[in-house]
Symmetry: C2
Subunit: 120 residues, 2 copies
DNA sequence: GTATTAAGTTCCCGAAAGGGAACCGTAATG
DNA sequence: CATTACGGTTCCCTTTCGGGAACTTAATAC
């Protein structure tokens, strides 16, 4: 989600899709939301070892802006914010399944001099 | 293809796959190689308006290192170098098809205040 | 002897992404 | 009064990505 420099090079449909899930984290965030259905900020954070709050916020905002994730704030204290995939985000599920299957095959294929494939 | 910082966070299979095709160009390069079967450097270059030689070289080397693309050099002058997808790269075809289909659906859905979806 | 060609490489730069650490506001809890 | 909890924000820094332009190499054609 960037529309970066290619304002004049709108790009093929493949680019359109990849743009939405590229970067270090967006794919994984979506994967977890698809998996869990609905997650609060810290619950998601716990599933993503290594990401900082700053980045997680950023990714979620971008996914929200792209229309793939919805953000619901409950006026409580302490705050409660729930994230879930939108209908359009849900439509990515089969793609993520395909990506995951392919990744598993690749890990299996290259199971030599590779670290262990830890949980997601 | 980076193995970046996550030497100790091997990542889920989704990450494995996305890592191989992320960035501004890798996806498109693979797309064209899958489309054409075999392309010489400059032929590929012509299909990618905007990329510089430097970057195209870089992307191809990374794809080659990842085992998705093969590079055949013919000892001629002027040089001839042919790129084609490997068997493993070929196995990504269905994923690219899925990405393209989803991207088209998205473009169709968001056909408002959007530039025209030009050819890839 | 000059130009051309294919497939790069080198250098150098600016922009963007990624990341660490501290800080914030409110309410309940001890 | 201090602490905890949640969901962030701010500041600042480093790394990576993307890109422009010039240079290279060796054979062949003019």
């Amino acid at each position: 989600m960037k529309v970066k420099h290619y304002v004049d090079v709108p790009g093929c449909p493949v680019e359109v899709t990849l743009d939405l899930i590229d970067g270090r984290w967006k794919g994984v965030v979506l994967f977890h939301l698809l998996d869990a259905g609905c997650l609060r900020f810290n619950a998601l954070h716990r599933r993503l070892p290594g990401i900082t709050q700053r980045l997680l916020t950023k990714q979620l905002r971008e996914l929200e802006e792209a229309g793939l994730v919805s953000r619901t704030v409950y006026a409580e204290v302490p705050p409660r914010v729930e994230y879930r995939v939108t209908e359009e985000g849900e439509s990515l599920r089969s793609i993520f399944d395909a990506l995951a299957r392919w990744g598993e095959m690749r890990l299996a294929r290259h199971r030599a001099a590779k670290p262990k494939p830890a949980g997601c």
